[in-house]
Symmetry: C2
Subunit: 608 residues, 2 copies
């Protein structure tokens, strides 16, 4: 038969298999995959964001790896393997030693030399190709590895979804021309589609930002899931993007020749948008319609930490009906990190009057402004939502407690240091390409592909002789798959309240055989059936535990999640065993037809 | 056919394979395996003791791993996978956080918590079994992993032989009884023999010391090689031990009733053993025979660094005809490290008169002695070679420049703090078990198995309920194979001055096909032959480079080291190709019989 067996000896007896199931969820687990993978004995936590793989988990992981490896080989990518422990110098050359900030695990060796645990390997691949290759004739080239990576996440969470030690497939392409890079990128993109299709993992491909990687085009593969950390948008017309990559359609400028002059009004006790709008409607009603939050300009004070440790207070102005989305903000500010300003930040800027902050004391940087105490200070950097185009009129803070300014016109009454994509994206917002209103969903990032361009080759001097005998800088792509994270994404997508429910291709075993009853005939028959299935290439978990109740055995089978359950028990007296898909109807099968029936079921599940 | 193929798609075209051969040895390489693995494009150095695996090297590594994995599975060991990044606490509990000293890579995470890169995983396995198991019925159990390990070696050397990041298979057994441990140990020992036999790697099994691992019985698997770091001894009667584990046979005490009293003599300008012996023979001749170096007691001053950083000056007394072997000394002092005393050490101990040091100012510790200046100081710890038994008579230093003491009798005139196995072992020394004179040889440590006993289970509280319902401390074994080091050991054992010469089971490919000539007919025939071989399951490197000379192609084939070379070239006009084993006679084979002939040759090489 044609069942692909990842390794020989696939009869896993529960009497000796190194596994213990738990009835209770682990205290620290928040998401189903984490809870179930721990409860079913697939993984165990060794430290925050650092996991140990037990035998069943390792079998799933090995199957995922095998699919990734095969599809990489199929597009001609060649496998190599880099160290995780690397010297500082290459990362210094590209600036990432600093840019990664606290996300990088750094250490010193006994000679006090600086090392890091690599979060990703662009530098090393670039240097290796530089070491070996020198001519355009050597290219195109795509290399990959399946290797352990490290990131000192601020908030490791959700088990394998966001860990600090994890396995990635990372591939890198090397081309002379932009067209070559586009072709290498498309090949990886196709391989990713085949990988996730084979793994039975639903996914969407969305436009993405490049973050600390640099480069131009980039797309993410997201597995839709309510527990995903990534929010993405889709339009009826086919636009799809990570919410961090959504570009706000910029309205046309508004003529403001007729606009009245800005005027400051008393708005006592209006430190929030809601209180401000209520006050405005009560005391300064518009004739045509009521004021709404969208008429106000909210100035949000943030503290930005740059990779070099420098802390900057920054103000972002957004329409009052939208919040600042910190992930969009950080994507826009990368590699810097941002957080709400603290009391200390406010104390350092007496010109900022909480709840009443307005453009009059903000940007552009370099110019000065007077504090309430009469001191001259530099203006804080001020960035605006792209919707605040010239001519738009706003109610906003007047920089005095209980006062706001009305009819403040962008471009006439205030300017800023630029725009920023920091406002939240909402369902119903228009797609940037005009393809209709956006809907929002969440997903787990399982793959990310980048057209890096020449950033790394430039920084590290990777050139080849081109057709004309001139040195040409190589252009690169970078392609990552979170191999350990895929195991979690598979578990998220394939479970119910009783436990895991693996697709057959990645299940630790195809069949779970349960012997129920006390007679040796039952165990003999189950043993014989299991052995014969294994001889046919089927991977079997056999619950041969003699003194465990049927109820516990069934609960364990459902928790472990093999796609097919075979029960050898009471029916044996009538010459039948029960065959029960993990999610489906059970049926009685005569004992002497059981092997053939189960093999046929497994082949059907595998699509063989 | 039955050739086991590690992966599909095994046609490696040299026109696109990511490899570049070098004609020159890399500057830093000292040993053949390092030189050749770099020159043949199998590995590249990323940092001292840290290597990148290129496609050909990775194929060899994968084959070695597969053999190790299969033999572990065959004895029922279950595979798991631990992180490399681990928290300090478990290693603190066993004392190894400190004991490993500077050999441990330590780091802090962003919350300032202490982590390490694991050099070995006894602690984690112990805790995992404690987490899952609780009854003697769960045992015996053997777990293993194939995983990346880290040691911050003082002197990384010889390429893959002693690295700082390397891959090990480490296995751990868990038993309730000592007999159980012995049985688990024997199973691993047998598996190791089968692994090295299958890999075609010659080895000897020698008794060993346990070093920082703790435990009782321990044996090493050494691959004999002149470049090996381990020296081992063998006797005609079958005794075999690592030189560090050799126990000196202790002579019987000597009666000394008739011995004359010790007497100090002027021995001007005799700071060395040679000058002392010459002076003694000239000025104080023995009637019966000449004095020899063996009549003198040499007191060697050493500085010992303890894991907690404390530096201790120690004196070791050995017969003057033997040197102190620093590796034996360190094995005896483990986990402390030792080096020759520095000028600063001597300056701190004015009672030590260089070249004339004698027992009168040395140990036992705790007692006091007067310096030349009349100060009272504590005696330095003093350890003696086991041959210095009570009653033996010595010429040794009198602690004054130009003076030695004669007829100084051990046990009568001086005592020490104990004995130490620090003197060099020499060819011809008697085996400790009386099985004859020892011969010495060198080897590469490729495996090490330990009966750890209850050290780790005690420290970490791993107990199970025994048959009587009482808590019993589990006894453990620890079993390591240096997977990456094996690749180097294989290269050391299988090369000539032209390059590598792999055994068929671990070669990156079975056959190297070379197309020589310019006609498309040659390339067409070579391509056809290569494809048909691959279809038969043969792994092929095909040198399809169009503009490379036959000489370069042959040199590359010999450097890369596939066991079988097939040349498609001039003979094609006569309907033949050449089949040439890497080490053997070439023969002409008709083109239409070539596939069958090569397949038969490969099967023979694989013993299929």
């Amino acid at each position: 038969m044609s069942i692909a067996s990842s390794r020989s000896g696939d009869l896993l007896r529960l009497s000796t298999l190194f596994v213990r199931t738990l009835r209770e969820d682990p205290a620290e687990a928040e998401v189903a995959s984490h809870k179930l993978l721990v409860r079913a004995g697939y993984i165990r936590r060794a430290a925050p964001g650092v996991y140990t793989w037990l035998p069943l988990g390792l079998r799933v992981l090995a199957k995922v790896e095998a699919v990734v490896r095969e599809e990489m080989a199929a597009i001609g990518a060649q496998e190599v393997h880099f160290p995780a422990l690397l010297p500082r110098e290459p990362y210094e050359a590209t600036g990432r030693w600093t840019e990664y900030g606290p996300n990088l695990f750094r250490l010193k060796d006994r000679k006090d030399a600086d090392y890091l645990l690599a979060p990703t390997h662009e530098e090393m691949f670039t240097l290796l190709v530089k070491d070996l290759y020198s001519s355009y004739k050597d290219l195109p080239l795509t290399l990959f590895q399946i290797q352990t990576k490290y990131r000192d996440e601020a908030r490791p969470r959700a088990g394998l979804i966001r860990g600090r030690e994890f396995i990635m497939k990372d591939a890198y392409s090397f081309d002379v021309t932009d067209e070559g890079l586009a072709a290498s990128y498309e090949k990886q993109r196709g391989a990713y589609q085949r990988i996730f299709d084979r793994l039975g993992l639903d996914y969407v491909i969305v436009s993405a930002t490049s973050g600390a990687m640099g480069g131009s085009r980039s797309e993410e593969f997201l597995s839709p899931s309510p527990i995903g950390e990534d929010t993405f948008v889709r339009s009826p017309g086919g636009y799809a993007a990570n919410v961090e990559a959504v570009v706000t359609p910029v309205p046309d400028p508004v003529p403001y020749d007729d606009a009245p002059a800005a005027h400051v009004e008393d708005t006592p006790d209006t430190p929030t948008i809601d209180t401000l709008v209520a006050c405005a409607n009560e005391r300064f009603p518009r004739p045509d319609r009521a004021w709404t939050a969208a008429d106000t300009l909210k100035n949000v004070v943030l503290a930005v930490t740059h990779p070099d440790g420098r802390r900057e207070v920054l103000v972002v102005g957004v329409p009052g009906d939208r919040d600042v989305d910190v992930k969009r903000l950080e994507a826009a500010l990368a590699p810097a990190e941002a957080e709400p300003a603290t009391e200390a930040d406010f104390a350092a800027h007496p010109e900022l009057v909480k709840g009443y902050i307005g453009p009059a004391v903000l940007g552009p940087q370099g110019e000065q402004v007077e504090t309430p105490e009469g001191d001259k200070v530099s203006r804080i950097r001020y960035l605006l939502d792209p919707r605040v185009v010239p001519g738009t009129r706003w109610i906003t803070g007047a920089n005095e407690p209980g006062k706001h300014v009305f009819d403040l016109v962008a471009g006439r009454d205030f300017t800023a240091d630029g725009t920023i994509e920091a406002a939240e994206v909402r369902a119903g917002d228009p797609a940037p390409d005009g393809s209709g209103p956006l809907e929002l969903a969440r997903g787990i990032e399982i793959g990310h592909i980048f057209q890096l361009g020449r950033k790394y080759a430039d920084a590290l001097g990777l050139t080849v002789l081109d057709e004309n005998g001139k040195q040409a800088v190589v252009t690169m792509g970078s392609y990552g798959i979170g191999v350990t994270r895929i195991v979690a994404a598979l578990a998220e997508a394939n479970h119910d309240d009783k436990g895991l429910a693996w697709p057959a291709h990645v299940a630790p075993a195809h069949v779970h055989v349960v012997a129920t009853g006390k007679g040796t005939d039952v165990f003999d028959a189950a043993e014989r059936l299991s052995s014969r299935l294994v001889a046919e290439g089927v991977e079997v978990v056999y619950d041969d535990r003699p003194k465990v109740s049927p109820g516990v055995k069934f609960a364990d089978a459902e928790l472990l999640g093999a796609p097919l359950l075979v029960v050898v028990g009471r029916g044996l007296a009538d010459g039948v065993v029960e065959v029960r898909p993990r999610a489906g109807e059970s049926r009685q099968v005569p004992v002497d037809e059981a092997v053939a029936a189960v093999v046929a079921d497994v082949e059907a599940l595998l699509g063989a």
